[in-house]
Symmetry: C2
Subunit: 396 residues, 2 copies
């Protein structure tokens, strides 16, 4: 008998990956430009030129230096550079001691959950949410609680949160800009959230940690700002990844911010190092630690995503689709034209539109459209979206 | 209450890392060339030139392709290239379906342990062993059993193994060439091991898996060969890393071989994918997947390590030290001059010799000398080793 838990997680292939695989097959059949594949959050814009320049510069250094193990929390000067950038941008006062380099956001989040949680604890998140959260929380034997979204704006339902927090609540996972809704939580909303956490922590006499998952922080539109949560709440751990801002998803590079003002900074800091060890993370990839330090405030061309968003949002709204207005990330969350989003996605496939049903995001009845694609694909997909709408109109 | 387990693993800093940190401090005080730091297994020889060439070539490809997510098990063509290389070298018949790319050996091993094991299972290894094994096995709630070495050759004590295997034994972890002893297990010894596992698997009616940890496979001397264990035992999982052979320890790139002939190939294969997911590994670093495929049969200049071994082994033996004769890896295992290896290492520090006591390797009374260093350091360290020996002679 091998691990049933791992078998289950491995054999239930994610719906996103399934659709992606179908897309590859279909593209081989009819040509890549005739399949409108909106399934994957793989950045379509190239990494900024500074990334290539950094790699080429680093190649001039001795390989036994540049490819060596870094200390487990990461290279000290890289961590210092990142801390200073956060200080400049968010008025913080972090040092390298507050930064723990990781193999991307999945590592950051899983390390935090494992470091903080014990079996029987609860972690709460807000629908719609990234499906892997469930796997990491349940993986340590903790309970995963989901708060449905406030409607119709997809902000946080604070009343529901207040009712859901119990003495067992160890952490709250917040993801803004949100995958899959594209919504950015307002400052007012986050102040309300923090107020509840402060009150409940006091009532129960133990800290409730805020884990903030923000790989999309820099991908925002319309001048919206994303509040930096360590400024609002002491017991905050920030999980960051360069996958989206620098278009480096395959390179697995990110960090955790462990602020001094945590109620039990030293213990949490040790537990994060321990969780990384237990999970098998030795150090974050060495070359890309140096690369991100050299590109610390760069991003790809975010305007291209904004352009995509506008095209898609306006186009689909005109056709009669109901969309959640996205202010960040590169996803559009669209109401399914029938209750069962799986059935809707199957119908969409007939027009070679590959959409992801929202059920695994904890919010049935919608589809996610990842618009980190070529602009041309959005333009070319519009007639297919139109036909899909017409099919529903015809039979309703 | 955060995770006590993670706190413990994080706060007990590894002895190797402690000595390494002491070394950095001491080097700042008296100059790097006067501290004889043998603490860390960080390859001293540069990556082969083909690595730099591969990186530069890959930089000519579009960044949004080269830095993209790969499928979770890794890029199919990279996996095919690795499978074909293993087939050429070891007469196997693997395909890409048998290769799962990982973030290095720590990831490979931890994924295998998690995929196979349930709480209450046992994993057995042979002293001396890499200390992180304990952390990964105990991390899933399984028992970690250690078999002391056969003396004086530090091969496997088969009688002790036969007694130790029980119906709860899920896996055996074998590491050859061995860290820290440098010993390569003989074919005869491994046949004996496999014989016991076959017999016990049959008796208990369930497979006992052989997990082979072989980052040092290519680092062998004196024409010794390292048997490829899938040829001897069906239920073998091979954990490999390019950290040592290509001198890329910081880049976190390796793989697991999941052979078709596993008793339950499909289930184990799914469980490995699931374990990687639960642990937070998304895909192995994308750029370095492509790099290792382009350098699949290259290594650094192994002769430099052999030269170091000879210098050190001959020098220390002449001075009267008792050394385990190493045939591989880049470690020399030397008998401590007093029972307490910690006390011995403290005395060695007076001569600025930084050695690692063997207690955490499950084999007290020895020290590990990592000779992946500059040749000059070994030459310069000899007078210090001499003085250390003289100090013991004087007081005995």
């Amino acid at each position: 008998m091998i691990s049933e838990e791992c078998y289950e997680f491995g054999s239930k292939s994610s719906i996103i990956r399934e659709i992606f695989s179908f897309g590859l097959k279909r593209k081989a059949e009819i040509g890549a430009d005739r399949v409108y594949d909106f399934s994957l959050g793989n950045p379509s814009i190239p990494a900024p030129k500074s990334v290539k320049k950094a790699i080429l510069d680093l190649m001039e250094q001795p390989p036994e230096v540049i490819h060596a193990y870094s200390p487990a929390p990461g290279d000290a000067s890289v961590r210092r550079t990142i801390a200073q950038s956060l200080n400049r941008r968010f008025g913080e006062s972090f040092t390298e001691e507050n930064i723990f380099m990781t193999c991307g956001a999945a590592a950051s989040l899983n390390i935090c959950i494992k470091a903080l949680g014990n079996p029987g604890d609860e972690f709460i998140t807000f629908a719609p949410f990234f499906p892997e959260y469930r796997c990491w929380v349940e993986g340590i034997g903790a309970d995963f609680k989901v708060i449905p979204p406030h409607m119709p704006d997809f902000q946080i339902d604070l009343e529901a949160l207040e009712k859901a927090v119990t003495p067992k609540t160890k952490g709250i996972i917040v993801n803004s800009p949100n995958n899959p809704s594209g919504v950015v939580y307002t400052e007012e909303m986050l102040k309300g959230l923090v107020g509840i956490l402060k009150k409940k922590s006091e009532t129960y006499g133990s800290p409730i940690y805020l884990i903030t998952d923000e790989p999309y922080r820099e991908i925002v539109y319309d001048g919206v700002t994303v509040p930096y949560l360590t400024k609002y709440y002491d017991n905050t751990l920030v999980c960051y990844s360069y996958s989206k801002s620098l278009s480096l998803p395959g390179e697995r590079i990110g960090y955790i911010v462990i602020p001094d003002q945590l109620a039990d900074y030293k213990r949490v800091s040790s537990a994060i190092a321990g969780a990384a060890r237990v999970l098998g993370f030795v150090c974050a990839p060495a070359l890309f630690q140096q690369v991100v330090a050299r590109c610390v405030e760069d991003t790809g061309d975010i305007e291209a995503y904004k352009n995509n968003r506008d095209l898609l949002l306006n186009g689909l709204t005109e056709l009669g689709y109901t969309c959640v207005p996205p202010q960040g990330a590169f996803y559009l969350f669209v109401k399914s034209l029938e209750e069962d989003a799986y059935a809707f996605c199957e119908k969409a496939k007939k027009y070679d539109l590959l959409l992801v049903p929202s059920d695994d995001f904890g919010c049935p009845g919608y589809v996610r459209i990842a618009y980190c694609v070529a602009e041309k694909m959005i333009v070319n997909a519009m007639p297919a979206f139109k036909k899909l709408m017409e099919e529903y109109r015809l039979f309703s």
